[in-house]
Symmetry: C2
Subunit: 315 residues, 2 copies
Amino acid sequence: MTAPRRLSGVLSPVVTPFKSDLSPDRARYVRHCKWLLANGCSGLAVFGTNSEANSLSAEERMVLLEALIQEGVPADKLMPGTGCCSLTDSVRLTAHAVALGCSGVLMLPPFYYKGVSDEGLYRNFAEVIERVGDARLQLYLYHIPPVSQVPITLALIERLLKQFPASVAGVKDSSGDWSNTKAMLDAFAKSGFDVFAGSEVFLLDNMRGGGKGCITATGNINPGAIDKVFRNWRGPDADVLQKDITATRNVMQKYPMMAALKAVIAHYARDAEWATMRPPLVELTPAQSKALMAELEARGFDMPGLAAASATVTA
Amino acid sequence: MTAPRRLSGVLSPVVTPFKSDLSPDRARYVRHCKWLLANGCSGLAVFGTNSEANSLSAEERMVLLEALIQEGVPADKLMPGTGCCSLTDSVRLTAHAVALGCSGVLMLPPFYYKGVSDEGLYRNFAEVIERVGDARLQLYLYHIPPVSQVPITLALIERLLKQFPASVAGVKDSSGDWSNTKAMLDAFAKSGFDVFAGSEVFLLDNMRGGGKGCITATGNINPGAIDKVFRNWRGPDADVLQKDITATRNVMQKYPMMAALKAVIAHYARDAEWATMRPPLVELTPAQSKALMAELEARGFDMPGLAAASATVTA
């Protein structure tokens, strides 16, 4: 079998809904994934940082991934996060995703031990690729040093690309440092390495630099407007459109991001249980939530069709 | 059932041996655990940071723990690490350890998300205690901010102790900051909260301050001398004994600790395969290893009986 067609555009690290007993909520999850694909997302980077994926067990992730596909979410729209602290978990989740036909996987480096060498990280990714041993594997490296504290360096990318050119497909750069994204684009984009910005704030710059889109937290709530920038990045109003999505992002960034995303979905879906967070994360306070909704409303923000979709299924 | 007798003295976060295919090596593991208990360790904090435990899956940890008990290592000498990023994994590993009769568990906070609130961490530990729901559970909090980046604050300990006085048994302080260990001793030791220093460098100070011992990486190679400080901490030569173990520690700290521990065991057991590390960690270079052994030999360092024990079993 050959590698699947690669994703581009706006990908959302889908937030994971929990029931009041903190177990993953399959029905709300499937519904939100379908809403995202119908409203601007070209793909779903499920089990990302903003998905609270690192608060899920490997088994919980596999059950949710199978549920999405069973419920009709196309596997070739999925780029699940499969990078764990443990090599054996990373291999297991990656092999599972590839076997299900997922378009790619987004891999964190092992993130418990700090100050590890590029040699050790190279061995980790090389072992995963070799043990999965499947030509369909499209591996995207996940660079998010503010959270993982373990960076993916340019030298590491170069070595992995040289050794595994058919498997190493790209990167998500969540460093928040445009000069780093630009260095990745300049060094590797021409050789077919797909660079995704980790925030829509850099979407237009990334497209102009040869990138493929963005994988962004706020893709969970504002996919249509972000997708508009992606589709019109060569157009005359690209900068104006970019300015608008950046302003919405800036509102969201005043609050703890993951709790804020869920609060917004709960509000626009008229479905309070959506706000539930799994420890160690906590919900917004009522005051934070109220202030956030007021700011979004002042911007004319909306999530079209969300309340109707929720009402249908929860009825 | 009631809570087991609490451990005190020198505990080793046992290094985990791997075969050349990077799978855990059961025979070498059991052998090393038995050598440690026969040579100065009062307990084994298996699956700690220095055990590369965060490079193991939950299943791999459970298989190894069961192997130890099957092979005759007393469960009441064991304090396995059971704190994971995922609440569900932490509950599963903790319940498993308690069911096997382990003396206690040493729990990292969930460590992927950074800057989390004490409220979120409280909810995490409270959920584990409530879901395990077993009066035998003795939970030791694991404070190691240089690696986890998520601290266990005094306020969090106070709240947990107040709510769960029978389950919250103590702490391992691997901050490397004596003033923090002292603050924990001053605030909680008198109410039956057992403070273990995270390095033997602070063993004598910790005993004098009302602590219970240390849980230390170098317990893997130097348990006898460290135990001598523990047993003689009230004696006239305590400071001289402390100076000696600190000097050995200082030699080890010049090298990447986990790789150095395994290199020392490989050398004194005459068993080269012991040096194997699982990615993202890597072995010492031959030059590093040679320099380390020369420094230890100059100090008259030895691991009595280790080569004989290894020869018997590998023969």
